[in-house]
């Protein structure tokens, strides 16, 4: 089970082809491995993550999931994916519990109300918080409500590919430690993790790779200064 990118080129906006955010990206992530994407604001971390889970078509290059091109068959990748982006995907008018159950049903891994409540409890959201409309939650609580998808029982069909955009944002210290432990546990079970973070926080993995974006731009600006 691997996710492989070969010569991947990606970008956004009308000038994406002339000025791609990343180009000739070759990377391969296997079971239990992690890939941390680093770079400054606007260097294309989120675009890369969205490209890797098939949300944005790459401008060139090929993305392979289990050796098969995602371009041709995205369902195989999507059935094992858990993506949490900048927009958390919480409905303000639904409770954390309802949000969690809908998200799981959409991902093809429906869970019972008790399981959902337990997962939210594990992330520190008690029954009363979990039943309140998501609009009343704080930023950190919202993020935890979404991350509770990681704490659901494995026998529901655990996602094999975790793509997390700034998962540690807005979390308090205790929650950061808890999330790190949770991710390490998922990695030990054979999941693969692709993430970005500005915090000095890394997740222990069998093999941890780092990909730095925006190197070319930085070199250029360094030349300007010199």
């Amino acid at each position: 089970m691997t996710l492989q990118a070969i010569g991947l080129v990606g970008g956004r906006g009308p000038h994406a082809r002339a000025h791609p955010l990343f180009s000739d990206l070759d990377v391969s992530v296997g079971e239990g491995e992690s890939l941390r994407v680093t770079g400054r604001n606007g260097s294309g971390k989120s675009t890369l993550l969205r490209t890797l889970c098939g949300l944005i078509e790459p401008l060139a290059g090929e993305l392979l999931w289990r050796g098969r091109p995602v371009r041709r068959d995205g369902t195989a990748l999507r059935s094992e994916l858990l993506y949490i982006g900048h927009a958390l995907g919480l409905k303000d008018d639904l409770s954390a519990l309802e949000n969690l159950r809908v998200a799981q049903a959409l991902a093809g891994r429906p869970c019972s109300e008790a399981q959902a409540a337990q997962a939210l409890q594990a992330l520190g959201l008690g029954p009363r918080t979990a039943a309140a409309p998501a609009r009343t939650l704080s930023q950190g609580q919202k993020r935890r409500a979404v991350l509770a998808r990681l704490a659901l029982p494995v026998d529901l069909g655990a996602p094999g590919l975790l793509v997390l955009d700034e998962p540690f944002n807005a979390l308090d210290t205790a929650s950061v430690a808890q999330l790190t432990a949770l991710l390490a546990q998922r990695l030990a079970q054979g999941a693969m993790l692709i993430y970005t973070t500005h915090q000095d926080q890394s997740v222990p993995a069998r093999q941890a790779q780092t990909w730095h974006l925006g190197a070319a731009e930085q070199a250029a600006s360094a030349g300007l200064v010199a």
């Binding site: 969205r50 949300l55 078509e57 900048h86 927009a87 995907g89 639904l94 309802e98 959409l106 991902a107």
Partner: protein, 222 residues
């Protein structure tokens, strides 16, 4: 597949229920627009009877248009649409779930309200029955075709006006057959031909529109 349709339908109906005021607003709009015409045109019975089908149908089109913004834009803003795009389930089934919920919360109330409004135009009872039947067949088409327009204009500036320009031309056949059915009934020709055509349009758009809207969503989502 049926399960994800049911999940999305339940979710959107729950959301519509929690935001009842939005639903009430487009119904109120329908009520206002179709009540303004008798005041403007004057109390001539014959005139009112002649213009009634067209007015009620156009008001229904506009009220549907008003609620189309809710279909995908909110989900796009909070990221839940991304999660739908990343679902392993077929996107067209998810879209169909959303469209079904849209029709139940925006289209069906129009069907139920229209006969009451028809009374102020002094439509005969059999014409009122045909009006309700034509709206029952026609409003799902409005939701289905509207989904394509709403998906295409997602994330664009001024999407609201654009959706009107895009979708209203597509509504023309529905308007012609829908309003035509009531006029035909009133003139004694019988409405069955119009209603059959409307049913045909419904069948075609039920088969094609969810798929087209799903394609449009994938295009405009990134």
């Amino acid at each position: 597949m049926g399960r994800v349709w049911w999940t999305v339908l339940q979710r959107d109906l729950l959301l519509a229920f929690r935001r009842r005021s939005d639903v009430a607003a487009s119904l109120g709009f329908f009520l206002m627009v179709s009540s303004l015409f008798p005041l403007g045109v004057g109390p001539e019975r014959e005139t009112l009877r002649t213009v009634a089908p067209g007015i009620l149908w156009v008001a229904a089109l506009l009220a549907t248009l008003l609620s189309l913004g809710r279909l995908f834009a909110l989900d796009h803003a909070d990221g839940t649409l991304e999660q739908m795009l990343l679902s392993p389930e077929p996107l067209s089934v998810i879209v169909l779930g959303k469209v079904t919920a849209h029709w139940l919360s925006a289209g069906l109330p129009l069907v139920l309200l229209a006969p009451v409004l028809a009374l102020q135009f002094d439509l005969p009872w059999d014409a009122i029955g045909v009006l309700a039947a034509s709206l029952l067949l026609g409003t799902p088409v409005l939701s289905l075709l509207g989904a394509i327009g709403a998906a295409l204009t997602l994330g664009l500036r001024g999407g609201g006006v654009l959706v009107a320009l895009l979708v209203l031309p597509l509504y023309i056949p529905v308007l012609i057959f829908g309003a035509g059915a009531v006029s035909a009934q009133a003139s004694g020709q019988g409405a069955s031909a119009h209603l059959h055509l409307l049913a045909g349009v419904l069948a075609a758009s039920l088969a094609l529109a969810p798929w087209a809207a799903a394609m449009a969503l994938r295009l405009s989502a990134d």
